[in-house]
Each structure stands twice: as C-alpha cells, then as structure tokens.
C-alpha cells in the first residue's frame, strides 16, 4: 500500500516541484492502472453550514451521475468519496488528508466557508492536490493548486453596488459578519464605492453569534443611507431581515450573501426580504434556457432530489466545475493532476446554467478564477424574484491589479484589497 502511495504522490506533484527527487523515478504509469476516476466531495450535511452545504453535495452527485450515465470521463466511471465533514474545520483537515493519502482522489471539491478553505489549503499545497473551491468568496486566492470557481466579492458586489448607486443614490451603510470574509468584503464595498462616486457613511461588523439586531437597525436609521450593503452570514444573522422588516426599516439592501445561498426568500415570511438585491452568478430563479427550460438544470435536479428545498448558487458552481474537470481530463488524456491542471489552464469554457443560451463561461488560465455571468436579482413584497440586471463580469482583481499569473509562476498566496487600494486600508 505504502509503495503505491509513494509512487502516486510522485505522480501527482507538478514536475517542477518533483524534478530531481528520488521519487520521480518510480512515478511511471500508476494512474493508468485504475479503472475509475476518484473524486472527493466534502460538503457539509450537518452542523452550521448544513443548510447551504447540502445543495452543493446534491448537485455534485447529480453531475457525477449524469457523466457516468453518459459513458463517464474518457470511458471511465467516476467513483465518489463523500463523507460528511459536519461543518467542522478540524474534521475537514482529517478528511482532506484521508482523501489524498488513502482514497487517492484525482480531484477534490471541499468546503463552504473561507475559514474552511484556509484550514485545508496548507494540506492541499503540501500534497499538490488539485482542488476546487466553489463558494462565492472575498477573492484574492492566487494558488497553483486551487481553482476558486465561485464568484469573488469584486464580481458579486461589483454587479449589485453600481446598480444600486444608479437606482437609489450614493450614501452606503455597510453591515458585515465580523470575520475574514465580512471584513474583506466591507473593504471591497469601499473600493467599489470609490470607483462609482459613492460614499460609505457607516459600517458595522457583527459577531457570528449575534441574533439580535435592534441597535443595528437604530443606527442605520440614524445614518439614513440611500441603501445598505449587507454581508451578513449564517443562521443567526438571517434574523436581521425579519427584524428590520418588523421594525419598519424600509431602505433597499444590496447583498452578496442573502437569498442565493440560504434561500431566505423561501424560508422567511414576506415581506422580510422585500427590496433586497442580490449580486450573484446563480439562483434557481435566473431566467436562462439552460436553467429553467423543460429538462433543464432545475428540472434535472428536482427529478433526482424531489424533496430538496432549493438549488443554490454554490450548487451550480459544483455542478459546472465537475463538467470543466471532465473536459480537462479528456483534453489531457490522463487523470495525472499536473497535466489536468495544465489542461484546465488552457482556457476551458463551459455552457453553465448561469449563462444565456449563446454564451459560455470561461475559466481564466492565469488566475484559476471564472469570468462569471453575473445577475442582480431582486425580491419584491411577496418574495417573487426578478432579474433586474445581468452581464459578464471578469475577475479583474487578481489578473489586472495583482498581476497573478499561475501559468508563468507558481504561487500560494491570498491577496487582500488593503495591499492595493488606499480607501480599503
């Protein structure tokens, strides 16, 4: 067993890292001995992130089943390893090691929160494991092993914030969850406000454990902004929307976190989500043919999982990235991870459900991020969802501002807006 492990490890690593090591000699042809392709899918089905992680898990299974029914990848069936990490970062680390060392997965999809991603990234990098992170996130991860295919804050906020400035005015009040994601997203609000000639007139960070929002609502009323940007996260924070509605706070709210992930517009009693605008790459309600037509993505999902409550943003990201992986393996003609990475870096495109009929989304070789088709989705008094704006928004922060180019240089860094923008500092 350990022999095979060593040889496999050698095979997985990029040749640059392993050149000249003793291991390189015994790496020949081990992967071709397997008759299945092994994918690891670690998504939370219990614990804090169960509500949002469960659809990701389901959509992954859907993509894998579809691919297997259509002859697999290059004629090989996909075998899936999907233990429940239970929203526990320590468990994530253990399972990630197990996926790599025992199950020898050819690619790994794992984790909902940025905290989880950062907990397992050192393991991923040490083992040079091909890894897909699919949640919308604060952005900035330039890492040779990580394919961060969810939209970034610059894409999510960059779609909804300019729309709201145009619609309602330029005074913005930011409320955000008090951790890595919320803090960086709030910095992005400042950067984007500056680019759109708007001002952030107030800002509050709220601990994840807080579920009472009376004073926050009062402070927003006192500041009297044209709209609020909300990057609240998790079940406790969801209470904000019900509480602001019952307190009679009627200001429009832009968000990158509500509705598309935890389907608050379905769970909460109207009009809690009235006048809330989500900047997202996907929601079950987006009006593309691939998504809503008969036999489309939504139909196929509910056919396989009739009792599923919602098909969320991250679920679509898991779904299309598994298809992108398939494309890359077929292009490379092997599951050897270095070569699959190179194939993924060849500018793969895919007709994901988020994109209109004549359009494909593109995996950017230099940054391992995706130029998403972004949507601004609005909920009305009855919680009906309507698309009010949509367009392709490239991920420009890593590519243009930072100059991350993973095709030329291997990196394992997360960049933050403070390093590049005065107003974020």
């Amino acid at each position: 067993m350990s022999d095979r492990l060593v040889s496999r490890r050698g095979f997985l690593g990029s040749s640059a890292v392993l050149a000249g090591t003793a291991l390189a000699g015994c790496s020949g042809g081990s992967a071709s001995g397997d008759d299945t392709i092994k994918l690891g899918v670690l998504e939370d089905r219990s614990g804090n992130f169960a509500l949002v992680g469960d659809p990701k898990h389901k959509a992954s299974l859907l993509a894998i089943e579809e691919i297997n029914n259509n002859g697999g990848i290059d004629g090989k069936q996909i075998e899936v390893f999907d233990p429940d990490p239970q929203s526990d970062n320590q468990r994530y680390q253990e399972l990630t090691r197990r996926m790599i060392n025992q199950n020898n997965v050819d690619a790994l999809w794992a984790g909902y929160s940025s905290a989880t991603r950062e907990a397992i990234r050192p393991i991923i990098d040490r083992e040079d494991q091909l890894y897909f992170y699919t949640t919308q996130y604060e952005g900035g991860v330039c890492d040779k092993n990580v394919f961060a295919v969810g939209p970034t804050a610059r894409q999510q906020l960059g779609s909804v914030l300019p729309y709201l400035v145009e619609e309602y005015g330029s005074d913005i009040y930011t409320i955000a969850a008090d951790y890595n994601f919320g803090q960086l997203s709030a910095d992005w609000v400042k950067v984007l406000a500056n680019e759109n000639n708007a001002n952030v007139i107030g800002e509050e960070f709220i601990p994840l454990s807080n579920s009472q929002f009376g004073s926050t609502i009062n402070r927003i009323q006192e500041a009297d902004p044209d709209f609020v940007m909300s990057m609240l996260v998790g079940a406790n924070h969801t209470s904000f929307y019900e509480q602001k509605a019952s307190a009679g706070l009627e200001v429009p709210i832009g968000t990158s976190t509500a509705m598309a992930q935890g389907y608050e517009h379905r769970r909460l009693d109207p009009p809690a989500m009235a006048n809330i605008y989500a900047g997202v790459n996907y929601m079950e309600e987006i009006p593309t043919q691939r998504n809503t037509e008969e036999g489309g993505f939504v139909d196929r999902y509910y056919e396989k999982f009739p009792d599923a409550p919602y098909l969320n943003e991250e679920a679509e990201n898991n779904y299309f990235s598994i298809y992108m992986y398939k494309q890359a393996v077929e292009q490379a003609g092997t599951t050897e991870q270095g070569e699959v990475k190179a194939a993924l870096e060849s500018g793969i495109t895919y007709g994901a459900p988020e994109a209109p009929e004549d359009e494909e989304i593109r995996l950017v070789p230099e940054t391992h991020h995706v130029d998403h088709h972004m949507w601004v989705m609005r909920a009305d008094e009855e919680h009906n969802i309507e698309a009010v704006d949509d367009r392709v928004i490239p991920e420009t922060f890593l590519k243009d501002t930072v100059g991350c180019d993973l095709t030329q240089e291997d990196e394992e860094t997360q960049y933050t807006p403070q390093d590049y923008y005065e107003e974020a500092g």
Binding site: A50, L51, P207, S209, Q221, Q243, A245, G248, D269, A272
Partner: protein
Amino acid sequence: MVNGLNLLFQFLDSFAFIVLAAAGLAIIFGIMGVINLAHGEFIMVGAYATTLANIRLGLPLPAAMLAGVVVSAVFGLVVERVIISGWLPNLISQLAVGRDVIEPLYDRLADSMVATWGLSLIMVQGVRITLGNSLDQIGTPLGNIAYGGFSYSTYRVLLAGVALAVLAVTYYVFTRTEYGMRARATIQDEDTARAMGVDTERTYMTTFAFGSALAGLTGALYAPTITMVPGLGSSFLVEAFVAVVVGGPSVVLGTTLAGGLLGMINAVFSNLIGTFFGRIMLLLTAIVMIRFLPEGITGYVERLRERRQEGA
C-alpha cells in the same frame, strides 16, 4: 430625546431577551442543582412546536404559542423521568435485573452538565434528521412604532411586558402556592423536607416541567423573530448563562436584577458603540462578577445579611 427613546427601547429589548432566556435555566439550576446545557434546545422545542402548529396545522399564533409551551413542558417531563431522575430506566431495570442502574442527577453539577450536553447534541441532530435543515418562518406580528426618523417593532416592546409577567408569575408560584413552599423547602434541606412529608421526587419533577415550560414559552415568543434552524438554541445560551451567573441563586430576584443590569449594559454599549461592543461588555461583566461576586448579586446580598445578623 430621540436617542433617549432608542436607549429605552433597546433596554426593554435586551431586558426581555435576557430574562426570558434565563428564567427556565435559573429555576432548574436554583431548585434542582441541575445545570441544563440543553436549555437552548428546550427553547428550540418551543419555537419549533409553535412554528409547526402555526404553519402546518394552521393554528392562530397565540394558540400555536400555547401549543409550543405545552409540548416543551411535556417534553421536559419525559426528560426528567428518563434522564434526570432515571425513574423509567430504573423501573425497567428493577424488573429485569432487580436493581437500579441510574443515580438521579439532582445536585450533581458536573454529571448533569455532561448528561444534558449529550442530550442537546442528540436533540439538534435529531431535529435535523427528522425536520431538515430549516423550517419556514412565521412573520413578526403587530407592526412598528414610528418616532422621528426611527421605528421599533411593537412586538419586541411587548416582549418586555411578557418578561415582567413571567417574573411576576414565577414569584407568585414560589411564594404564594403550596407547591412553591414545598419547592423552597426542598432546596433548603431535602432530607428534612422529605421527613416532613414533602414528596421531593414529585417536586423535582414538577419543577423541571415548569422550567421546561418557561424555556418553551421563550421559544414560542421568539419564534416569529429568529431563524428556524436546529441550532437556534445556541443564540440564547450565552445570555442565559451570564444572567444566571450574575443573578445568583435566588431565582426571581436574581433574574430580575441580572436582566436589569445586563440589559442596561448591553443597551448602552451596543447603542453608543456597536453590537459587537455590547456583547463584549456582557461577557466582561460576567468575568468581573465571577471574580468579585462569585455567588452573584443575590448571593452577595445574602452574605451581607448573614454578616449583619451575626454582628447584631
């Protein structure tokens, strides 16, 4: 003036939340010496029962809330008979092997913590498995009070009134009823009380059910304002424990004083500086209290009184 009103509403809001979160916990701890780490999950039972009764059975909200209270009281009774007193397992084991297998958890702080913590884990996961990751939520009734550029939810102001009523009823029950007298006798000296003919076993049972009913009431009242997920109990737990630590052993007086003090601290700091700071100050207060008044406010008052009596 407007800010004064803000502060007042904020205070009423925090006061209600702290008192309602802590009441059931304080009673079970104060009278039975059982630290109920599943208190948040008892609140969850009340909230879930209320929501299900309202949405699935179509009961009007007040009736659904009543159902929430009854369900959690019955649930508490079952937990007491099975886990806390071990009555049911012992009954079965008596028949099967002729001896008891469970020692009651009364006045065994550490043991009761472990047992109820286990119970809370089972409850959260059990609810997740049977009812899913979330429930649809009832909207908050009664609209809002508007003043100047501000407004506040009427329902949340009403909760402060309910909190006061809960304190009044608890006070009445423990000082003016026969059950209350037996309960207080049981706390003071269980053996003597039993010798005097008090059925302490039954007192414990009733007390646990009463505490559970209060937790259920809290869940029922807050169901329209918070997110319906299996882990919702945890958002009540910090406030509840801080209030019990600060309040001390006297149930009604301790909870009232703790609710008043902590509510004020939370209102002032979260209004002036921010929600985050309000919560920091709550925890800081708890730390300072544990350091300087380890028995809480009422414990300190009690000690002062004893010292004065000795002096006289």
